[in-house]
Symmetry: C2
Subunit: 573 residues, 2 copies
């Protein structure tokens, strides 16, 4: 029972049904066939030799299958994480050098350890701070950067490193004259082929077809002797188990990028996993266990010469469509990659880089989310601005900076909005006990001696001054006729010590001016805060009401010298 | 009319009443007499020669009197800002060197420009982010640091620079053996004298008495020849007008500390100004004009060899008690300091440093706010933690770091709280139309087929998952009997695009399971967000209700096949 919690795979392994096998095998083989070209292509994005993409597609898949709670999620190399890897490590070491490769492997270890720690300390909720507009703006810009980063392979030219749009474009503009037309034709041909196959039959692995076609073409016609760049000799065999070596200084310099990858990759992975879970509903997802599983998978990658991986959109969708029922499908994919590593690597020698570039460009094109931008423009301007800022910052300032800025800005907006919240004066809907915002509804009844104010935010340090100013201004509009201030607290969700202090001062000063202060619909947590600070006693328990009408009626009773029976409920706590 | 806005002094200057003169003169002289010892003492905290404290007490006062909106606020050198100055500049240059003095003057310019810009761009609201527990914890710790920083003058010993409690105490412990007992006696005598005078008559300037006594004692008995350190020869005359010189690199290194001083000093000043305004109410305070006035005063300080200044607690209180009615009082104080600079500086030669240290220690002792800490411990543990963290960080990590950490932590807590807000299931109060939290009140009525949920926070990207999970869990508890989910949205104050998306998905999935979704008390801004994203149409306008009871009744009508007339109000917008 307990073991189930640590190794969720036991829940499907122990009761494995024969009926699931067909789907698992078919899905596992399909995803495996996709994984081989994609893995090599994404290794190229990460600035690694293509073979490392296959290394990253073995042990990590099996570790996730054992420890993860999703049964359809296909982990492995993905474009976004590979790009972040290149952006982060490329700033420290030259792409393709031995030091670069060692740092990327170390990065995988760091990402894994961070994810493991986040999971163990149950900090999975942090991913919630990535808002939808930020994710969408970031993904769209990252897709453009990833796509354009492959321009050099598509054109067959050399370009200086650069992850910013203007740098990439300026570099390409300078060297476009050196384009190898043969390479370009192969690349464009592959793009057209993959797109056509996709239209014809979605589940057919068009990229594998392009890979096979490209190899045959180059090998048959000897195109590599005419300037078409190829993958070249690929070492065969499985990756050797090895401890990533490191120094504290490099570890420190990798930490920021590792943190960004840990969160972004978890975010991508959990989003896909949730979508799958909601289609099946025969198992439960646990965000923190997911972090632990991804952490273990990345640590596994580091020990077997892999680079940072995560659960990706496209292969997971294919896995699900092809019938994956359990984690066995992922294990079968991994076995297929192992077989490839053992016996098929010589085949990849003649694979042109342009084909891998085509695979990448087709894959990332779908990630440019202009629909969401359009939708936000129409429905929510402030979220639209967030999208645009994140998009532009990712394109022109940098990959990590883009997402960092987006997150900070979205949190700052949340805070800013609560500093000047919506404040409503309530009036009575004729012939009813309902009170609504007088600026929103016509014909509401207001009395000169009664001011009912609703403050639409938690009352806390950053808005106590605004609260006070708003009420003073509204009271001033009423003039001397005002006799009772009714604070409708139904939307004050929390109250901190500054809020308590502000209320205390307000009530005191209004009482001195002969104006009573009543409270309506005060929430439990706010009642608690008031009671603890002895504010309830100062206001008087009898001045708390269940509804606006009750408060108005009680005020009339008091004015006429009548008693009124406060409607006090018995509370549990 | 327009000129009034830029030079608020015109509003009292043009209609100056003779009846105000007596109070203004009396207050101006009293504060001036306080200002002379305090100015010199606070210059010492800032690491400047005492005479600079008098320089900072001339032109800035007059500029504030002309441009400020408060009529009682007494600006000039204050302890906290002087300490921040020493902490910031001391890290760049050796205290007492010419470079140090030049940097402090430049800092005043930078603080002034920042405040001016904040005021012009109407960013005065930023001060709201300093919550009460953070201010109180910071002030208390800063008071302790300021007081202990004077230990060397009180003991007559030399100590290495240090603004952290453990550094100061370790230094003092090492050198305590070198204490000059004569100096110590003078200092303790002054403390006792000031305290006694305060008990006897609060408005009497005890510190001036101590200064005069100290000068006479040292001069008469020649104590400076027995190791009592004195202020020494003081250059007479007014400060020369001079342009602060600077390089861009030093400007950059001073920027963080200037930003901290600009905000902290504005916060201190506006808090006192508000307290005064609420006592008088015959003028209006304008936070942004206050920033402009303080900015001008600091720029003025920089041009006349002053250091950063602001409106302070103690002298403002004295100014008010002594009868200040307009800014004329401040101008009279400044004139008194000018007269002192012109004719009385030779008197200060024999003033012992220990007397100034005593003045400071008495002044800051009152700022240690243990009462607030006790109050928060009882009424609000989370605000208490903020107080403690800010207090300890200011003591042991550093002055600026302390307040910075406090602000960040308080904002992080605000955000964190909204990610896992209070969620209530509502039940009916028997024999009424009121619905309340079933966990808080006893005997509420619940129906197996109806789930009424109230989510107590704005619905936005960081809590959509929690929202979804909470509702799913509550719905699961109801089981198959559940037929309608009523979302009481009275405390959902705003809705972003992630919130819209979450609601859309929720409604869709519950409908598929045969469960209707109704909405109650949706606020105007949230209604707008729903309408713009076409969510209102998808839900159906007839499923929005004014009260829980309406929603329940409508549901019963639908179940029984009856029509129900939705109660739709005519809205203005």
């Amino acid at each position: 029972m307990q073991l189930d919690k640590f190794i969720p795979a036991l829940s499907w392994l122990t009761g494995y049904r024969k009926s699931d096998l067909k789907g698992d095998v078919s899905a596992g083989l399909t995803v495996g066939v996709m994984l081989i070209p994609q893995g090599m292509a994404y290794a190229m994005i990460a600035g690694m030799p293509p073979i490392y993409g296959l290394y990253a597609s073995t042990v990590p898949l099996i570790l996730y299958a054992l420890l993860g709670t999703s049964r359809q999620l296909a982990v492995g190399p993905v474009a976004m994480v590979s790009l972040l890897t290149a952006a982060g490590v490329g700033a420290i070491a030259g792409v393709g050098t031995e030091q670069y490769i060692a740092l990327v492997i170390l990065l995988a270890l760091l990402v894994g350890v961070l994810q493991l720690l986040l999971g163990v300390f149950r900090l999975g909720f942090m991913v919630n701070f990535l808002s939808h507009p930020v994710i969408s703006g970031f993904t769209s810009a990252a897709a453009i950067v990833i796509g354009l980063s492959q321009l050099k392979h598509l054109l067959g030219i050399s370009l200086p490193r650069g992850e910013r749009l203007h740098e990439i474009l300026a570099g390409a503009w300078q060297h476009v004259g050196e384009t190898n037309l043969l390479t370009l034709s192969i690349g464009i041909g592959a793009i057209v082929l993959i797109q056509l196959v996709k239209h014809w039959r979605k589940s057919f692995p068009g990229s594998l077809l392009a890979v096979v076609g490209g190899i045959l073409l180059v090998w048959g016609l000897g195109l590599h002797e005419h300037g078409v760049k190829i993958v070249g000799k690929v070492p065969g065999g499985l990756p050797a188990l090895g401890l990533p070596s490191f120094e504290w200084a490099t570890l420190q310099s990798l930490l920021p990028i590792a943190a960004a990858i840990a969160l972004v990759s978890f975010m991508e992975s959990i989003a896909v996993a949730k979508a799958m879970q909601s289609r099946h509903r025969n198992y439960k997802l646990d965000a923190n266990q997911e972090l632990i599983a991804l952490g273990a998978a990345n640590i596994g990658a580091a020990f077997f010469k892999g680079f940072p991986i995560t659960g990706g959109f496209s292969r997971t969708a294919v896995n699900d469509q092809a019938g994956a029922r359990t984690g066995l499908a992922a294990i079968i994919s991994a076995v297929l990659v192992v077989v490839t590593l053992l016996f098929l690597t010589p085949l990849f020698e003649f694979l042109p880089n342009a084909i891998l570039a085509a695979v990448i460009m087709v894959a990332v094109y779908g990630l440019i989310d202009h629909k969401e931008a359009k939708h936000l423009w129409r429905s929510n301007r402030s979220d639209f601005s967030l999208w645009v800022v994140t998009f532009l910052a990712t394109l022109f300032i940098g990959i990590e900076q883009g997402i960092g800025l987006g997150v900070l800005l979205s949190l700052a907006l949340v805070i800013y909005r609560t500093t000047k919240p919506h404040v409503a004066v309530l009036g009575r809907v004729p012939d009813s006990f309902f009170y609504r915002n007088v600026e929103r509804f016509s014909n509401l009844e207001q009395r000169p001696d009664v001011l009912i104010v609703r403050f639409d935010a938690q009352l806390y340090f950053a808005n106590v001054n605004y609260f006070r100013d708003s009420i003073d201004e509204l009271a001033a509009q009423k003039g001397d006729a005002l006799k009772v201030l009714i604070i409708n607290a139904e939307s004050i969700n929390t109250l901190d010590s500054s809020g308590v202090h502000a209320l205390e001062e307000l009530i005191e000063q209004y009482r001195q001016r002969g104006i009573s202060a009543f409270f309506v619909s005060v929430k439990g947590p706010v009642r608690d805060a008031m009671a603890k600070a002895h504010l309830t006693d100062k206001i008087g328990g009898q001045y708390f009401f269940m509804s606006n009408q009750q408060a108005v009626d009680a005020f009339d009773n008091i004015r006429q010298g009548n008693d009124f029976t406060p409607y006090i409920l018995q509370t549990n706590k």
